[in-house]
Amino acid sequence: MKLVEAVVRPHKLQDVKSALADIGVVGMTVTDVRGCGRQKGHVERYRGSEYTVDLLSKVKIEVAVKDSQVDEVVECIATAARTGEIGDGKIFIRPIEQVVRVRTGDRDEDAL
């Protein structure tokens, strides 16, 4: 089992959600996050004062999947979230030790 963590542009969330639904993945956790990578950020000006905003708003989408699904899900997210410009985000893939479904007590792949 793997946890796919994708940090993407906020306005791409809807596209990613519907693309995932198309391949049958409906469970996910979404968080508003801020961060920076190679993207430089932008300058905001308030009555003469300039501020460089380098922590930009993103959303983090977490999806737990079977090992066999990882490539498909990653490809799906990457395609849906891509604009081609700097700042499209990143996807991290991590192993999951255990999964428990709270309601039934199901474990591991049964709980996904």
């Binding site: 306005h11 809807q14 932008h42 905001e44 905003v53 380098d54 922590l55 930009l56 708003s57 410009e85």
Partner: protein, 505 residues
């Protein structure tokens, strides 16, 4: 329209006949009635003529009327920031400042344009039935503006405008032999400047109303160019048609008390043209576009309602019985409309929407605007209730359609204003206004007249707006780039955010 009627002065002969036999355009009898009730409307011109003084007495403003007109002007100005927050709450947070600025910038730009040429095109004398003369471009001389009242309205022939009254204050036809001519003055008891600045506030808010159909996707500078051109080429001529005694709609006797056609139908149909030319927001219909702050919306509605008292009751031109009537009717129209919207919501959706209640109140205020000086309080409740129902249907249809009238500027102001204009023809009562569509001979003609005049305003506004926007599109483009639309217009147009957070810097 009646805002001007109250202030007309009637010839000594007509005065002697006690107004009821004076020869004036239909609604003028209303003014005559209220003049008789309040006893001050004709004090300036009429009094001077009656005593046959060769030199008219120097103008002395009625301080009560002037106080109310100035306060009303301030109230109407407040409606523009109120509208900004009403609209602002309805857009996504990333476009909040841009939406606010679409209204706020009108306060700067339109005020200056009004002085430069707008006032003269709308209300200048020596024009023709279609636009005013340009003699007051840059305003009349200060001495005239502040120490005199609005002079007798002058038509294209260089003579004071005289209108024919065929129906008296009770709605009875006047025999032709008894019909007299009446010279007409606008806002006769207040200084000319008070009238000018009061009318300026309408010029400011009307283009701001259009922005409801343009938000979240339009470049800011082309927007400013559009509202400036629209104000001078659309608003000012229409105001002249409807409100200047030489204007062709005024002459026909169609009723628009506080701007149902000039402001709401005008802005609403421009909004429809805008939504068509500028096009849908990216993702419209496929992506949720939620209002980001309904509390701000409802605050805007409350302040709009408050400011509307200046808009409607101030259009009486003074602090007399007519103003009180407009004030009462404004309240009842808005209340009835809000209640009806809540009831329809409850019946059709099993829950009462807060945004719906606010929209209902605005629809009612729009509907009662042309009617508030002509209908009884019961009539006002009916006007509000019916307008609300019509706007409810329209807003529901709009949400299912392809035209992205984002904040329902057309559904509420265009359709609501049109409904109100027609209902004015139906509910205007003989006892109050000298017009009753169902009693006066040719009563149906009143309704048809309302329909005809309002339809012309709607068509003119739609076509002109379409042309102006298409021209700007061809010269420099209207749309923000896809990227700046996605990023939000606050950052891409203004370099600022409505809700900036320290932890990002």
């Amino acid at each position: 329209m009646t805002e001007f009627f109250k202030t007309l002065f009637v010839s000594p002969c007509a005065k002697a006949l006690g107004f009821t036999t004076a020869r004036m355009a239909l609604p003028l009898a209303f003014a005559a009635l209220f003049g008789a009730l309040t006893g001050h409307a004709y004090a300036q011109g009429g009094g001077a003529s009656a005593s046959e003084t060769p030199e008219p007495a120097p103008f002395a403003p009625n301080t009560g009327d002037t106080a109310w007109v100035l306060a009303s002007a301030a109230l109407v100005l407040l409606m523009t920031p109120a509208l900004a927050f009403f609209y602002g709450g309805l857009v996504r947070g990333k476009n909040m400042l841009n939406t606010l600025m679409m209204s706020f910038s009108a306060m700067a730009l339109m005020a200056i344009l009004w002085v430069v040429a707008g006032y003269s095109i709308a209300f200048g004398n020596n024009g023709n039935p279609y636009h005013g003369g340009l003699g007051w471009a840059g305003l009349p001389p200060a001495m005239e503006l502040f120490t005199d009242n609005y002079p007798p309205a002058i038509g294209a022939d260089g003579k004071p405008v005289q209108l024919t009254m065929t129906v008296d204050a009770q709605g009875k036809a006047i025999p032709e032999a008894d019909q007299k001519a009446a010279d007409i003055e606008l806002f006769a008891t207040v200084p000319h400047g008070a009238f000018m600045i009061f009318q300026m506030m309408f010029f400011i808010i009307t283009p701001a109303l259009i922005s409801g159909a343009l938000v979240e996707r339009m470049k800011f500078v082309p927007y400013l160019i559009f509202i400036g051109l629209w104000g001078l080429l659309v608003y000012c001529p229409v105001a002249h048609w409807v409100w200047h005694p030489a204007g062709w709609i005024f002459t026909k006797g169609a009723m628009d008390f506080a701007g149902g056609a000039v402001v709401h139908v005008n802005a609403g149909f421009a909004a429809l043209a805008g939504a068509l030319v500028v096009g849908q927001r990216r993702g419209y219909g496929s992506r949720p576009m939620l209002p980001h702050s309904l509390p701000l919306c409802l605050l805007g509605v409350g302040l709009l309602w408050f400011g509307w008292y200046g808009f409607n009751a101030g259009s009486a031109g003074g602090a007399g019985a007519l103003g009180v009537m407009a004030f009462v009717n404004t309240t009842l129209g808005a209340a009835a409309a809000m209640l009806v919207w809540m009831i329809i919501d409850l019946v059709t959706r099993k829950e009462i929407s807060a945004l719906g209640a606010g929209t209902g109140a605005v629809a009612g205020l729009v509907g009662i605007t042309p009617a508030c000086g002509f209908v009884s309080p019961t009539g006002a409740i009916l006007v509000g209730a019916i307008t609300s129902g019509v706007c409810y249907v329209m807003a529901t249809l709009r949400a299912r359609g392809k035209v992205d009238d984002s904040l329902d500027a057309f559904a509420v102001h265009g359709v609501g204003g049109f409904t109100g204009a027609l209902l004015t023809g139906i509910f205007a009562t003989g006892a109050l206004s000298g017009v009753n569509a169902f009693i006066v001979p040719g009563g149906l003609s009143t309704l048809l007249l309302q329909l005809q005049c309002t339809a012309v305003v709607a068509a003119y506004s739609f076509v002109m707006s379409y042309v102006i926007l298409t021209a700007i599109k061809a010269l420099g483009g209207l749309r923000a780039t896809d990227e700046s639309e996605e990023r939000g217009l606050d950052l891409s147009m203004h370099g600022e955010e409505a809700y900036a957070s320290e932890s990002r810097v």
